[in-house]
Amino acid sequence: MRQKMRALMLVAPLLIFVVVTFIVPILSMLFRSVENDIVANTIPGTVVALSEWDGSTSEPPHEDVYRNLYIDLFKAEEAKQHTRLGTRLNYEKTGLSSLFRTTGRSLDDIGELWQDPLEDIDPNFEEGSFWYEMMSGSGGEGFLEQRRALMATMSGEDMSGEVGFVPSAEIVDLLPWTASAYTDFALWAAIRDGDTVAEEDPWESVYGALGMDLTSPETISAINSYGGPGASALQAAAANIDQLPSFGFREAFVEEDEDWGAHDVWATIKLYSPNMTPGYFLNAVDMTLTPDGVESKPDNQQIYTTLFTRTLVMALIITASCILLGYPVAWLLANLPMRTASILMILVLLPFWTSLLVRTSAWKVLLQQQGVINEILVWLGFVNDADRLILMNNATGTVIAMTHILLPFMILPLYSVMKTIPPSYQRAAKSLGATNWTAFWRVYFPQSVPGIGAGSILVFILAIGYYITPEIVGGTDGVFISNRIAYHISSSLNWGLAAALGTILLVVVLGLYWCYDKIVGIDNVKLGG
């Protein structure tokens, strides 16, 4: 037991290191490729309301959905989260990103449609302190915490702290929309902006919310029998609802951008409101999840399957070139006298001493149309000056440069396996009457196959995930899937798609490894003696 503990202690640093730097990132990548809580987190009320909507008919969503959208979007806009949501939904339907961005800018205008007439009806509505007094009270602590939690999830920020405001339970009952909007405002003003709630003018959304409450006849009658703070202003508003806009929020949104009335916009939002989505994976194989089911993307948008195939084929070509070039070198290394062999070995290892970037850039110099290789070919007269070979910014360039860069990974395992093949086998074969070639092909070569296996796995797996070299010399035709992954991680910021592509790559590699084990047998792979 103690020995086991000690052994565990000895491996613990490595174990922790591996878990932290390898297993956790992989798991997080796997998770990220299906994770989709941004919709439900950013517009939670809308998602709930939308679940009632039957998208299969042409019927647009209920007014309730638009009201929730207004309340949700307003605070998301304050937290600058609405553009993130727009970007996310834009992966699934182009145009949604700009829809969210432009709508975000006009949310205040929508609120003012109600704010102006309300302030005309009773000037008290202009006063922040009046609002504070009207909304404050006791018994609304639970409601406050509920809104606080939603706000924290939406903004991804810590919303804990003293608000200096507790909604009155009575008002929460009486004016549910207004209470929500005002509480959101209070939380944001107190905690994010550090202001005193009582001294701040409420958000425009609060007026809009009051407008929502005033459309309900039960609320009107409840207001008329209400006697708490601000009762007279509310009753004045209730008495003059004909001065308020006669339309609802659906019209207000559609007025701002007619896309809010479009059926497929809402269908997309509804489709992507669950917390998990196959969308990224479908995207990664050039498909898309539409409200009508899974569909292939149009031909001109199909890129990933081509890229995956190209990556696989090119990795295979590179592996094959490495075998062809590396085998004779490894054979020489294993069979030359010690001294010559060590010099050759230094030459093989030399590339490891220079930076990968330098080597790749050197290839650029060599392969350019005005580069060394073309110059020599032209000078020798093999190639016309007019039609110099295009060796770079295409697949050829990637294959040439990567074969060179990965060659040592083929030579070293091959060498270490060949080193263990005793010369007596070949001698035996020759003494039995085999020519040099037969002795090599029938006796030496089969025994070096485990080295080929090990080298191939190494080179292939390195090649399939290679990034820098294809990026530099690959142009557009010679890039790999990893370049696309890098693009999504650092430029388009579509991490979910990047994660899905990465996961597929991982699965493909594991699958190939499995096939390899079935066909060749992993026991037949030797890295050395």
Partner: protein, 366 residues
Amino acid sequence: MADGASNEAFVEFERVQKSYDGESLVVKDLNLTMPKGEFLTMLGPSGSGKTTCLMMLAGFETATHGDIRLGGVSINDIPPHKRGIGMVFQNYALFPHMTIAENLAFPLEVRKMGKAEQEEKVKRALDMVEMGSFGGRRPAQLSGGQQQRVALARALVFEPELVLMDEPLGALDKQLREKMQFEITHLAHQLGITTVYVTHDQTEALTMSDRVAVFDDGRIQQLAPPDKLYEEPENSFVAQFIGENNTLEGVVKEIKGNTCVVQLDGGEVIDAVPVNVSEVGERTRVSIRPERVEYNRDRLHEDAHTLKAEVLEFIYMGDIFRTRLRVAGNDEFIIKTRNAPDQVRLTPGTEIEIGWLAEDCRALDA
């Protein structure tokens, strides 16, 4: 020499020299002639050039100087695969990726023999070494002794006239070795193959061979049938190397025909056969085999020379007694006596008199 061996030279080394580095000679002036059907063993200490000789014969090394002939034809320029020499390697060198049957079929296949004939021959060769039921296995699934037999069968399956074996029994335990020694000689003689066998082990060399070539320092020190080698070593290296041997050092006093008189360093004077001493006053080592020394007066030949000896140690070894004596200042003088009913067991500390025939006592180089 085996039956059917003719005296015509089959394998010949003529003034062969070999140097790996161009400076020191590993094989110096090797001359050797073997008739067909002979079983010849190369015996010698490590590094004496045995393997090198074998490799030159097989064609994996080229002689720096001299000529190697096979059946009268110089083979210096014939590549190994055309020499038709069977070879058994020390580590057997069975191809690990082929089954036993495939290993055996290999030499037949490269000779483009028909499938049926191949099978037939492989079967016969496997049966010959009693491995008939192992054809489908891989070499790694066999014991050392079994691998050894397969290696032998593979070297014989294409019916070479000459077979080379480099310490083929080195990895086996004593009992298996003895069994295999018998089997190899038996097979070689039965098939009438000429065999060059390399070993470290002198017992192996003595029991198996028609002739033994004792190697040292890149030279053949003596080439002779086992009995002659044992009983009539031609120099003190061979006397020391083969079997157990007592040496007494001294100076030649007189040489007369086929006896000489040697004064030992302790002052005693004895008679001996002069083997490679040529002049009076020369220093010499006198060699006597332990079992040729007698201390039982009744058995001592009347012409025998006697010396005083002190018993130092008596070792009971079952079939023989081994007694260590001090003779003429030499503390390591060993005598061996058969455990016969009337044999006396000597007690350490007693003084005895020992004797031997002058013809068993050989005066060799110092």
